[in-house]
């Protein structure tokens, strides 16, 4: 006896060409909308939390877990990039130098103390994230950065 799926596939041939592309496109859109909805809900939830609480840890851990899961899935789908010629050093050297300077200045301020006299980047970020609305926006921006990283 033929099973149900065999009968179904016999009655409706697998879509090809434009129909198949449309189905795949719609699936991608649904997946992205789902991720955006999840991220938005998480950002709203995180906006009502405060650091050093279980709620804040759960919201952040959920985001990191989702990032790791998405990265694992994306890594399997990502085609292995062909070996390319090394980029010109100056193209990214300016950002490297700036990043190194920021890191050095951050560490210097961190160890110089007190924090009020030597504010670090965290000091400013914590001040900005003090309000629920700004905290929610920052959380959403952090999630968007993670999404961008996964998509590359």
């Amino acid at each position: 006896m033929r099973n149900k799926s065999a009968l179904f596939s016999a009655a409706r041939p697998a879509p090809t060409g434009a129909a198949r592309r449309t189905i795949e496109h719609n699936a991608r859109v649904r997946r992205r909308l789902g991720l955006v909805g999840f991220g938005g809900a998480l950002a709203v939830g995180a906006s009502f939390t405060t650091p050093f609480t279980t709620g804040a840890e759960i919201a952040t851990a959920l985001a990191i877990g989702a990032f790791l899961a998405a990265e694992l899935v994306a890594a399997r789908r990502r085609p292995r990039a062909p070996r390319e010629a090394p980029p010109r050093w100056r193209a990214g050297a300016a950002w490297g130098a700036l990043g190194g300077t920021v890191l050095a200045f951050e560490l210097w301020n961190y160890f110089a103390g007190p924090r009020a006299a030597h504010p670090t980047l965290s000091y400013f970020l914590s001040a900005v994230a003090g309000q629920p609305w700004s905290r929610g926006i920052m959380f959403a921006a952090w999630l968007a950065l993670g999404g961008w990283l996964v998509s590359r």
Binding site: A46, T49, P51, F52, A56, E57, A59, T60, A61, A63, I64, F67, E71, A81, P87, R90, A91, G92, A94, W95, G96, L98, T101, V102, F105, N109, A116, A117, H118, P119, L121, S122, F124, L125, S126, A129, R135, M138, F139, W142, L145, G146, W148, L149, R152
Partner: protein, 65 residues
């Protein structure tokens, strides 16, 4: 000038340098923008790991701790 004010001035100067670099990248294409530079850093597996760990640390540091 107090230590606090001097520190804030340096932070603002660094932010202006970042904005200037991005502006030069967009206007002339002779430099990589911040997105392109990060993307290039994240291309090899080791660089990707560094960027991913940095992203996770940033979120945990700012939002959880």
């Amino acid at each position: 000038m107090s230590d606090r004010l001097a520190t804030i001035v340096v932070w603002v100067a660094l932010a202006l340098v970042a904005l200037g670099l991005e502006a030069v990248a967009v206007a002339t294409h002779r430099l990589a923008g911040i997105g392109a530079a990060l993307g290039r850093l994240a291309r090899p597996p080791a660089g990707r790991l560094v960027v991913a760990l940095g992203w996770m640390w940033l979120g945990w540091h700012v939002f959880a701790r």
